[in-house]
Amino acid sequence: MVAQPPLEERRLVDALRAGDESAFTRLVEEYGPAMLRVARMFVSSRAVAEEVVQEAWVGVLNGIGRFEGRSSLKTWIFRILTNTAKTRAVREGRSIPFSSLAGEDEEGGAVDADRFLGDDTRFPGHWAAPPQRWEAAPEGRLLAAETLEVLEREIAKLPANQAVVVTMRDVEGFDADDVCNALDISETNQRVLLHRARTKLRRALEEYMQ
């Protein structure tokens, strides 16, 4: 934990408190796109996600006077965003990720059990059908626009809490601490959700690459 927020951040906060519009637009440019993407994981449509983002920024402005810098500004903003999104999800009658109401999604191991040899074989738990290297696929396939679409679709199919975590970590590049603080989840919980999400995304890419 950093005792003092970085100078740059303190300046931004001070400028925002003083009503500096350029400080506000800078923050919107920096965090707005990620906020929209994360909000989208909680609610039913892009339009509602935009409303959530708008509502969250109003919350940021109203709360900035009380911001004490105990977390980073970014974490604080995303806490407001995710709380706003959760409230909205409740109103929409959707199941709310990261609430006790959401329950545990019960899922088994990482990859299909039949990818591994069974207990009755000589090497139980070893690959029966090992993954094939993607380098064998036509060059550039992994980076093609279509591959990104496969990923987008797969993320949309994930349970919401997995989708939120993998979006924050792997799409937006948050570190684990930021995600735990913004979502108010334990480090272990964060890692389990990330693991399940990455596992499914890899599997989707594997199917596509073959």
Binding site: L61, A110, G125, P131, L151, I155, R191, H195, R198, R202
Partner: protein, 82 residues
């Protein structure tokens, strides 16, 4: 987490995120790394998880549409103490 001296491919696959997040203790980390040295399937799997993370990171940011930008600015001006 304590693992047997030798771990299976299924265990490596289950531990891959903990390994990448660097939260395994030194012994378990070593077991995973030893396994990866001789196991093509698992090192391919690990590479693919890394490739998956890299490709996920290439998803385009969602642009803030101009209409939303305008609304945000209006909200700011309404709030602005200045």
């Amino acid at each position: 987490m304590r693992l047997d001296r030798e771990i299976t491919c299924a265990q490596v696959v289950d531990l891959v995120t903990a390994y990448l997040e660097d939260v395994l203790d030194a012994d378990d980390r070593e077991r995973v790394e030893e396994h990866l040295v001789f196991c093509d399937g698992c090192s391919t799997y690990l590479d693919q998880i890394r490739q998956t993370i890299a490709v996920t990171g290439r998803l385009e940011p969602e642009d803030i549409p101009p209409a939303l930008q305008d609304k945000l600015l209006a909200a700011f001006r309404e709030w602005s103490p200045a």
